[in-house]
Symmetry: C3
Subunit: 149 residues, 3 copies
């Protein structure tokens, strides 16, 4: 078995690199969404942030906390995917299947952020987005275990 090459010549690694970067950008977008809520509602977590803005320190504003939960959910799911999918591409999977899985995960996480923190929608919108992301990661993780055990 040949070693996995970490270069743009390897379409599987290029696929990983592009989607990993897009997912990091998506996570940073939540930073912008949090800031937007904090400035709109004039609610900050630290006295030094509130100072001079006629804002207040408050740790339980529902709109801010909603965005922070969306961010925490990203932290629970996106790094896990980035580790597992790196190992998955090292199993030398079919490129078309891998492309579909990376796109599905990325789309699901963008949708998750949208229905959680941009425009709250009734369930099961968020649940579906969450489970598509989780399911994709679990499928890849099982393939990694089968290949490397």
């Amino acid at each position: 078995m040949s070693s996995f090459s970490l270069s743009a010549d390897n379409p599987l690694f290029a696929l990983y690199a592009v989607h990993a970067t897009l997912l990091v950008f998506k996570m940073f977008l939540v930073v912008v969404l949090t800031a937007r809520q904090r400035f709109a509602k004039k609610v900050f977590a630290n006295p030094e942030d509130a100072k001079g803005r006629s804002a207040k320190v408050k740790l339980d504003d529902p709109d801010v906390e909603r965005v922070r939960r969306a961010h925490l959910n990203d932290l629970e799911n996106i790094p896990a995917f980035l580790f597992v999918s790196f190992l998955y591409v090292a199993t030398n999977p079919n490129l078309a299947l891998a492309t579909t899985l990376f796109r599905a995960f990325t789309a699901a996480r963008i949708l998750h952020t949208f229905v959680y923190a941009v425009k709250p929608l009734p369930q099961p919108a968020r649940g579906l987005a969450f489970f598509v992301g989780l399911g994709t990661t679990i499928y890849m993780a099982v393939q990694v275990l089968i290949h490397f055990w």
Copy 2:
């Protein structure tokens, strides 16, 4: 020095791949534990989750928050280990020693989740599990610094 090979032919990389995947599965288990507590106590974080379940929105239920702290502790320790241990295997360590360290970390984190979020035990049970995981990671991190500095 030869380059580190990202294939199943390299027993150190296979060791990494298997344990990284098991640790991701362990983190996902906490998602199940959180859901179990939320449904058992009918306590949800979002109005759209509580709707139609005769459940309430509550952000400070002690049993739910305990599981969420276990999850956050995973996020503080498991990704750090996955980065450091990847670099550690790139230092070409002794396979038997590396195997022991990976098993110790994985067992410690499974135990940590158990005593934190499944069946709370008196200290120092959780403290010991936490420090075995932290100590393993710090040992590997020191070896990485010695090798690559």
Copy 3:
């Protein structure tokens, strides 16, 4: 294009390995800072931790929560950097530029922890440290997208 080598012979990978490890150590430092606040103020999150210390269970102590927010901010930024900068070194960048970027990010995150959790300073101290870290990561992420797309 030659493959990226995961060995100490590759100065870009050595640069990555050293800074990644230093950043993990920095994150672990926040664990010490949290413990210091908890023991100083005798405020714990779990009954089993408070037991026998004449301490109390409290989830909203402002000094403890400040350190925990510093930790969460690390989790939102440092793993993202470690994924993106690994991909960035795989684009075979100029070594001097890469060294500057790694040092800037690492220094910014150390400063961020200091002004957030050790000695709170007025804004924009923390904001500047945060944006230097974010900006460095975004620059690298853009280079990765250009290279691998």
